[in-house]
């Protein structure tokens, strides 16, 4: 049974992807894609319900899996080498050759005689990741079905490129599931490189000049990460004699003093994770990835790709708990958080705001990982889970809005509530789930601050960064939410839009998931996150001092408390909603314009000279003179590079 579920999560998407590629046609796609998504989601929920397990998985259909993965690894790297050749990039080719050399040495010399490694050993963290990837990723796939139709209509393509698009999307989802379920680092590396390659293809999907350039940037940065990953594997195999994540963690926990040589591979793993999670100074690839069709951004930012980096860090964090390296990681993450929050404040491009906010939240996760106590791990996991859901939702919303109004500048979204009230409301809900309690993201942030305040090392600067960053977060979210629902009419009524049913279905379902998940956040915490973390930290007997399940929820009976509070809050909001519905139509009045307000075509303005209607032009305050990209990006990059040098160089 377990074999089958794991098969459905990892291999089935690849098969579905290849089928979609080989058998093009709308009908196949419209049936096969949703069916695969449903099977994946059910398999993921099945795995989650089953709980943590061990699966040796030595053979698959009679093939030795280890050898198969080695073979695939080489094929993949050779392909990337070929890509590098095509792109005329010495950088990519050089790094790929180095990776190949490392892999040859690893497979040929180091692991030749090594003991076999358990294939899959997922714990609560992996399982919740699989659920998130399958559900959020699946919904994004369903959304793409409708989105890509309109997208290709706009581009006026002669031949549809959707088969290729969906093939890559499914491979991406399969690879992510594989990455989080695998216990063997070598296998993980294969999936890691698959996500790199998939993101390269997806970013360059539209084949414009910018798309190609940005895809190339994503490729070389992630190949750099891959190189760091290979080096880490080499070091780990050499010093600890195994590539099994579980055993590596056990051995590292048993060490009293962690020498430089022991920590070196983990520094490299951190580097790999930072590139994949687009932390500063590598943030440019993720910002550049916005040129791709919006479902790609949704996928990259929410459940897949960037979360792979943070997942790797979370997985490996216990190995370097209590070291100075860990503190540097925390400082680095907190710095990324505040830096990118500042950058987001001066942006008016919705996708850019979302991109910077993603990087910021990943920074917060990394700060929690660096704090490296059980409590901070819980916080980090919570943020990963809820960020995936909300960010996926927000990207999908921005995609729909862009297809409707032809712009993704938030200034152009003023009055969106009149044009598409439902989507505007869903987007606003998405924003509130990112920034306000009782939604999961905020619970995560709350726990993060509590965890950091309990940490001993470098707490003050980290908290300073986080406190400042949080305030910036409120600034850029709140004004966007306000713009979305702005309107000069008392009420607006939905009109039939251009969007396909799949798009509408995906938006509403994910919005529902975001709300529902937030209200079951204590359960998620108790059943998935808590056990996984307390398991790790108890099993390896590390610094678990700060952790009581629900310490953040005021003690042992905390769960019931938090429910009571949130139920009251929900009741209050419902009451407010009802009160707002009850305002009579005659209570409507135009906004105060010094007595000159005139409304025409839903826009408010005044009659200027010659009685010509002048609509009012309103705009947010974007403090670009302080936080503009061109002003501070360089500074942020320099400081973060310094952090990275200290991280790796400090060990030498």
């Amino acid at each position: 049974m377990l074999n089958f579920l794991v098969f459905c999560c990892i291999v089935l998407p690849f098969i579905a992807g290849l089928t979609l590629y080989r058998v093009p046609g709308d009908a196949t796609r419209k049936i096969l894609a949703p069916a695969t998504v449903v099977v994946m989601a059910m398999a993921a929920i099945g795995l989650g319900a089953n709980g943590p397990f061990h699966l040796e998985a030595r053979n698959f259909l009679g093939l030795p899996l280890d050898a198969a993965f080695t073979f695939l690894d080489f094929i993949l790297l050779v392909y990337i080498l070929f890509l590098g050749w095509n792109l005329r990039s010495r950088l990519v080719m050089g790094m790929t050759v180095l990776q190949l050399a490392g892999l040859v040495y690893l497979k040929g010399v180091l692991t030749n005689q090594a003991a076999p490694v358990t294939g899959f050993a997922p714990d609560g963290l992996s399982l919740i990741m699989v659920i998130i990837i399958s559900i959020v990723g699946g919904l994004i796939t369903i959304y793409s079905l409708g989105y890509m139709d309109i997208h290709e209509e706009h581009l006026r393509l002669r031949a549809s490129r959707q088969p290729r698009f969906f093939a890559i999307i499914f491979c991406f989802l399969g690879a992510m599931n594989g990455l989080v379920l695998c216990n063997n680092l070598a296998w993980m590396f294969f999936f890691w490189e698959v996500t790199t390659l998939c993101s390269f293809f997806l970013i360059s999907h539209d084949r414009t000049e910018t798309a190609n350039a940005n895809a190339f940037r994503a490729l070389w940065m992630n190949v750099l990460g891959g190189l760091a990953f290979v080096s880490a594997m080499l070091f780990i195999q050499k010093s600890l004699g195994t590539l099994s994540t579980e055993i590596v963690l056990q051995k590292m926990a048993a060490l009293d003093i962690k020498s430089t040589a022991m920590l070196m591979p983990f520094a490299f793993l951190c580097l790999a994770a930072f590139t994949k999670s687009a932390q500063v100074p590598f943030e440019s690839w993720l910002c550049g990835a916005m040129v791709a069709p919006t479902p790609v951004s949704a996928l990259l930012h929410s459940a897949t790709m960037v979360k792979a980096g943070t997942y790797l860090l979370l997985r490996m964090a216990p190995a370097f708990a209590g070291t100075t390296m860990s503190t540097i990681v925390a400082l680095f993450g907190a710095f990324t958080f505040v830096g990118t929050c500042m950058l987001a404040v001066s942006q008016s491009d919705a996708k850019k705001i979302l991109a910077y906010s993603t990087i910021a939240n990943l920074g917060l996760i990394i700060a929690c990982v660096g704090i490296n106590t059980a409590a901070s791990m819980v916080a980090a996991t919570m943020i990963i889970v809820y960020h995936s859901v909300s960010k996926g939702l927000l990207f999908m919303c921005v995609g729909s809005i862009e297809q409707r109004i032809g712009s993704r500048d938030i200034e152009d979204m003023r009055g969106l509530y009149s044009a598409m009230p439902r989507t505007a409301t869903i987007t606003a809900i998405g924003i509130f789930t990112m920034m306000l309690p009782p939604f999961g993201m905020l619970i995560g942030k709350w726990m993060a601050i509590e965890a950091i305040a309990r940490a001993t090392q470098a707490m003050t600067p980290i908290l300073f960064f986080i406190a400042l960053g949080s305030a910036f977060t409120v600034l850029f979210w709140a004004r966007w939410a306000g713009i979305l629902i702005s309107s000069a009419n008392l009420r607006e009524y939905p009109v039939r839009g251009i969007h396909r049913p799949t798009v509408i279905f995906a938006l509403r379902t994910l919005c529902g998931v975001a709300l529902l998940f937030s209200f079951i956040s204590p359960l998620v915490l108790k059943d998935f996150v808590g056990p996984s973390v307390s398991g790790v930290y108890a099993r390896f007997n590390l610094r678990a001092e700060g952790f009581i399940p629900g310490a953040n929820f005021t003690g042992a009976e905390g769960y019931s408390w938090i429910y009571l509070l949130f139920a009251l809050l929900a009741l209050g909001v419902w009451f407010a909603w009802r009160a707002s519905r009850r305002v009579p139509e005659k209570a409507h009045s135009l906004p105060y314009f010094s007595g000159l307000a005139v409304k025409r075509d839903g826009k408010v303005g005044f009659n200027g000279p010659m009685n010509v209607f002048e609509p009012a032009h309103l705009s947010n305050c974007y403090p670009t003179q302080y936080f503009g990209e061109e002003k501070i990006t360089r500074g942020i990059d320099v400081i973060s590079t310094a952090f990275l040098i200290v991280l790796v160089g400090g060990l030498l």
């Binding site: 009045s589 135009l590 105060y592 010094s594 007595g595 000159l596 307000a597």
Partner: protein, 172 residues
């Protein structure tokens, strides 16, 4: 509930927030209106706050000559005030057009555009007269709520001899 209602009615008389609109006066009346807020007259004793926003105001103090351009503004300001509300027309020009009466662009008084409750004549009226006007406006509100007799009917500009200059209503 009835207690709350009677409290609300009483409170209306205790807290007349004002908005002051100048239809194009020579600023003589405006200065006198603002003088009411100074420590010497301290109109906040009666709960008066100068809000500058029709959406918050209860009493509209309007000064200056109403003309064809600004009557729309005056009307919209009045309409944007949530009821119950009162209007106090201040100064000769606002009462009847004053010295500009019968000019080609002048409407003869605010009462031609919006319903005015109290007229405060003068060119300009003294702050005491303006405060008295506001208090009289509260009396009008009170009467409207059925809480007392209406104040003495104010002298309507139209009641007097139309040929006489409006300034005659104020002190010379």
């Amino acid at each position: 509930m009835r207690f709350v209602e009677s409290m609300i009615k009483k409170s209306r008389l205790m807290s007349p927030w004002m908005i002051h609109f100048d239809c194009g006066s020579c600023n003589g009346c405006d200065i006198e209106v603002l003088a009411c807020l100074t420590p010497l007259y301290d109109v906040e004793r009666f709960g008066v706050v100068n809000t500058g926003n029709p959406k918050h105001a209860d009493v509209l103090l309007v000064t200056g000559t109403v003309n064809h351009r600004n009557r729309h503004v005056l009307k919209q300001l009045y309409e944007q005030m949530p009821g119950p509300k009162a209007v106090v027309s201040i100064g000769a020009c606002n009462l009847s057009g004053g010295v500009f009466k019968d000019s080609y662009n002048v409407l003869n008084g605010a009462h031609t555009v919006i319903p005015v409750d109290v007229f405060v004549p003068g060119c300009p009226p003294k702050p005491e007269a303006i405060i008295d006007g506001v208090i009289t406006a509260l009396g009008v509100l009170k009467a409207k709520m059925g809480m007392g007799p209406a104040p003495e009917p104010a002298l309507m500009p139209g009641d007097a001899d139309a040929a006489k200059p409006a300034a005659a209503f104020g002190e010379s």
